[in-house]
Amino acid sequence: MNLTIDVTNIDGVTNVVLAGEVDAFTAPKLKETILPLTREEEVVQVDFSDVNYMDSTGLGVFISALKSTKEHNSSMRLVHMQDRVYRLFKITGLTEIMNIDSTVQGGM
């Protein structure tokens, strides 16, 4: 399984649309895309509608992105997560410190 990353800019919001699986193989590519955005853009939104699997390596990417937004005064918002992915953010306590759209999409 692969991951496609699509970056668009609508009304000053950078939207990163992900589709596929975020795991140890695809996480490096995701990191290379997202980290520079948190340095250059004010608001980065990541759309998870089509992410059906993510492992802890993926969480690592969003943790470093979060740290980077704090350093660069930008912000990150994660939207449209499927249940299984949301569960991962919930267990690890990250829902408390990240801006995650709470209207969770249906499961798999």
Binding site: G60, I63, R84, G93
Partner: protein
């Protein structure tokens, strides 16, 4: 040089025979010749050189242009020869690395080894299986004279060597505050500061820490974003998720952890695990938590170690089963 000379004779005869008979047998011999040459580290251009010499000997009147074309071919093979040499070097290096990693893996095993405690009133079972050579999961038991049993279960994000190195750091920090019998919330708070200071931004650790008091039969615990464990109530024959809020270690230095306490009744079980257990897959299908609990129940007549072993065996037996992440399962049961 004598063996190469011998091979040259051999090659010439084979070639001559093949040209005369077009016999498959000679082709097979040619294949053997190439295998043998590779074992002797003979490069492709050397083989062509042998070919040219053989041709010259078989056909002394070989036309000039064939001779030239052969020399031309020889030149074009030189890069392949270099690539072949590089391959040889890389293969040697790879073998070297492989043996170094296995030394490191053994060292890690020794460094992180923990002894499963034998306490009269509690039955303990523990199993940890790495997905790759080095284990990014960690579990540790600390048993004190006052009847306290500390249990740590942790998972480093990421796999392989970096995760393993990180785990060693955790182990040493824990050893350094082992003397003071500490509350789970204090232990997680201190580790969080250690990890936050020392580890790369994208690395983090999840940890569950529990303290079993074998005199009062209470279990005190706190979690740093770790995969929830389960509590089995013997009287109700029911599992309950041990759902504890808490942020993973290494993200935010100001975080504090809340600890909870539970009274443990006779026959009750505490089940601790890592996400390697819940992230098992059979082909494309995820194995659901309920299935893990179902298997635990199925073997609950066994001693705790028997249960954890059977759970792993159960999943291992599934067709297309793949262990994507390190698998750690610990079960504690109050016997008396």
């Amino acid at each position: 040089m004598s063996t190469l000379k011998l091979d040259l004779e051999n090659y010439k005869e084979l070639l001559q025979e093949y040209i005369k008979t077009r016999d498959e047998q000679a082709l097979y011999q040619a294949e053997q010749f190439s295998k043998h040459s590779m074992q002797q580290n003979i490069s492709p251009e050397e083989i062509i050189n042998v070919h040219i010499q053989s041709l010259q000997e078989i056909y002394p009147d070989m036309p000039e242009y064939i001779q030239s074309s052969m020399n031309f071919l020889l030149e074009t093979m030189i890069s392949y020869g270099l690539a072949y040499q590089e391959f040889q070097t890389l293969r040697e290096k790879q073998l070297e690395l492989k043996s170094e990693i296995s030394v490191a893996a053994n060292m890690q095993k020794t460094l992180l080894s923990t002894v499963k405690p034998h306490i009269d009133d509690i039955d303990v079972g523990a199993l940890s299986v790495p997905a790759k050579q080095m284990n990014g999961d960690y579990h540790h038991f600390v048993h004190d004279e006052k009847g306290g049993l500390g249990i740590a279960v942790a998972d480093v994000i990421g796999k392989g060597v970096p995760a393993a190195l990180c785990m060693s750091m955790i182990k040493y920090s824990m050893d350094s505050f082992a003397e003071l019998r500490t509350d789970p919330s204090v232990i997680l708070g201190s580790l969080n500061r250690v990890v936050e200071r020392n580890v790369d931004a994208s690395m983090f650790i999840t940890m569950f820490y529990g303290l079993y008091n074998s005199i009062e039969h209470t279990f005190t615990y706190a979690s740093a974003g770790h995969e929830p464990g389960y509590y089995y109530h013997k009287d109700r024959d029911e599992f309950e998720e041990i759902d504890v809020p808490g942020l993973v270690l290494g993200v935010s230095p100001e975080i504090t952890y809340t600890q909870y306490e539970k009274k443990v009744e006779k026959g009750d079980m505490i089940i601790l695990l890592t996400d390697g257990v819940t992230e098992c897959r059979q082909g494309e299908r995820f194995i659901e938590q309920e299935e893990v609990l179902h298997v635990i129940k199925q073997y609950s007549h066994l001693p705790a170690q028997g249960i954890v072993d059977q759970v792993y065996k159960h999943f291992e037996r599934l067709q297309d089963f793949q262990l994507r992440d390190d698998f750690t399962l610990i079960i504690l049961r109050r016997n008396v």
